[in-house]
Symmetry: C2
Subunit: 248 residues, 2 copies
C-alpha cells in the first residue's frame, strides 16, 4: 500500500532541491517506465496499477525492487501526467562522472539551455542521430526534471551525460568545437567536417562570452526568410542532421 510518507517523498521529487538531496528522480508512463527498468539506471521502487503489474509480470519477476500497488487516481496525484494508468518509478540518479569522447564521435554540448522541454527534446534528437554523449553547463536545466524526462520520450535512458564547466572541459578535450551563432559560416557551405562538439547556447543569449573563445568554428543555419531565430532544439536538430550527413 502507498503510505503517506511515500506520497510525500515522491511529491518532493518535483523539486530540484529534494531530487539533489536524495539523489533520486521519478519516471512516469508505461513506455518510459519499462525503458528505465530495462536500462542501466537503478530503480529504487515502483508504484504501479495491478494491470501494469500483470502486463509486465515477466519483466517484473526478474526485478528485486519493491512494487507498490496504486490506482490510476493515486498515480496521477503523484506525478505530473494528466493521465497515467500504468506506473511511476522512483530511480537513483547517476553519479556526475566526466567522460572523454572518442576522436570519431559527435558530441552535443549545451551552454545554459534553461527550458526543460528544450533539454528533453534535444536528448531525443541526439538519440535519433546516434549521438551518445552530451555535456551540460552547470546552468543547463536539470536532467532529472520530470519535464525533461517526459520530453525525451525514453531517450534519457540511452545517452551518457555530465554537468561541467564548459571552458575547462572543452579545453581538456582538445576537439573541434562547432558553435551555433547567427553570424558564422553557412552550414550548407560545409563540405567536410571532422567529428567534434556541436555547441548550442542559451535560448535568449546564445553562447556566452566565457565559452565563445573555445569555439573553433562558428556555424550558422542559413535563413531564407524573415524569422529572427529558431528555437534551440530545432537548431540542434538541423546541425546534427547536417553533421551526420557529412560525417556519416
Amino acid at each position: 500500500m502507498l503510505s503517506k510518507n511515500t506520497v510525500k517523498f515522491i511529491k518532493s521529487l518535483h523539486q530540484k532541491k529534494y531530487r539533489a538531496e536524495h539523489q533520486k528522480f521519478f519516471v512516469e508512463g508505461e513506455k518510459s517506465v519499462v525503458e528505465v527498468i530495462n536500462s542501466d539506471f537503478i530503480i529504487d521502487f515502483l508504484v504501479a496499477t495491478p494491470d501494469f503489474i500483470e502486463r509486465h509480470n515477466v519483466l517484473l519477476k526478474k526485478c528485486s525492487f519493491e512494487i507498490i500497488q496504486a490506482t490510476k487516481n493515486q498515480l496521477e496525484s503523484l506525478g505530473q501526467y494528466q493521465s497515467n494508468d500504468s506506473a511511476l518509478a522512483v530511480v537513483k540518479q547517476k553519479v556526475n562522472e566526466a567522460f572523454t569522447p572518442d576522436r570519431n564521435e559527435l558530441v552535443v554540448a549545451l551552454d545554459d539551455v534553461r527550458d526543460p522541454g528544450n533539454l528533453g527534446t534535444i536528448i531525443r534528437i541526439a538519440d535519433w542521430y546516434g549521438i551518445k554523449k552530451l555535456l551540460f553547463s552547470s546552468q543547463t536545466a536539470d536532467f532529472y526534471n520530470p519535464k525533461v524526462i517526459q520530453a525525451s520520450m525514453g531517450s534519457f535512458t540511452r545517452i551518457q551525460f555530465f554537468y561541467g564547466d564548459l571552458p575547462t572541459v572543452l579545453s581538456s578535450w582538445n576537439l573541434p568545437v562547432y558553435g551555433a551563432f547567427l553570424d558564422g559560416e553557412n552550414l550548407h557551405g560545409l563540405s567536410k567536417v571532422e567529428p567534434g562538439v556541436i555547441l548550442m547556447g542559451n535560448e535568449s543569449k546564445g553562447i556566452s562570452p566565457e565559452v565563445e573563445p573555445f569555439v573553433s568554428r562558428k556555424i550558422t543555419i542559413p535563413a531564407f526568410g524573415s524569422a529572427e531565430s529558431l528555437n534551440v532544439a530545432i537548431a540542434t536538430a538541423v546541425l546534427c542532421d547536417n553533421f551526420k550527413r557529412l560525417i556519416g
Copy 2:
C-alpha cells in the same frame, strides 16, 4: 477604459468557438503586437499600457483603431501570458482563401497536426526557410489559437495559409508531394529535387491513408540511433533544411 463587456469579449476569444463566431483573435506581447500592426492583418482594437502607447506613439498615430488603456494586471488577466506589461491586440481573422503555389516554390502542408505549439513552431520554421505558403487539413490546430500565435514568434504575420481538403487541393495543384514517412527514401540520399509540397502528418498517426495516395515520394530522415521518432516540428525543420539546401 476597459469595460466589463470588452473583458468578457476578449476572454471569449480563448475558445475556438467564439473566435470562429466573431472571426477575430488576439495577439499579446510587445513584439508580436507591433508586428501584427505593421502587417496586412486588420486590427479591431488595441489594449495597451500607457508606457506602450508612449513608446510606440509614432506608429500608433498613423492607426485609426481604438486604443484602450489598461494596467499590466489587467492585460495579464485578459490573455494567456504570465507576464505582459505592454499590449494585447484584437485582430480580424483573414478569409480562408485558397491559393495556388508557383512552380518554383516550396510549400508546407500539414495533415492533422493537432498540437498548437507544434503548429506555431512549424510556422516559425517555414518563415525562417522563406516558405511563404502553408496548407492545413481541416483537423489541423486552429491558426488563431493563442498558443499558435505565441509559438510562431511573429512569423504568423508573414505567411499565407488556408484550410482545405488535402486530397482535393493536392490533386488540383499537380505538384510533387514529398511526404514524411518512417519507411521512405533516405533524405540524405537525395541529390536533386523539384520544388513542391513538403507534407507532414499527425503527431501520432502520421500521414493518413486518405492522403497517402497523393504523395509522389516518401521521404525518411535517417536514424542513426535508437529514438523511435522525432517531434513533427523537428522533422519539418530537418526536411525544410535539406530541401532548401538542395533547391536553394
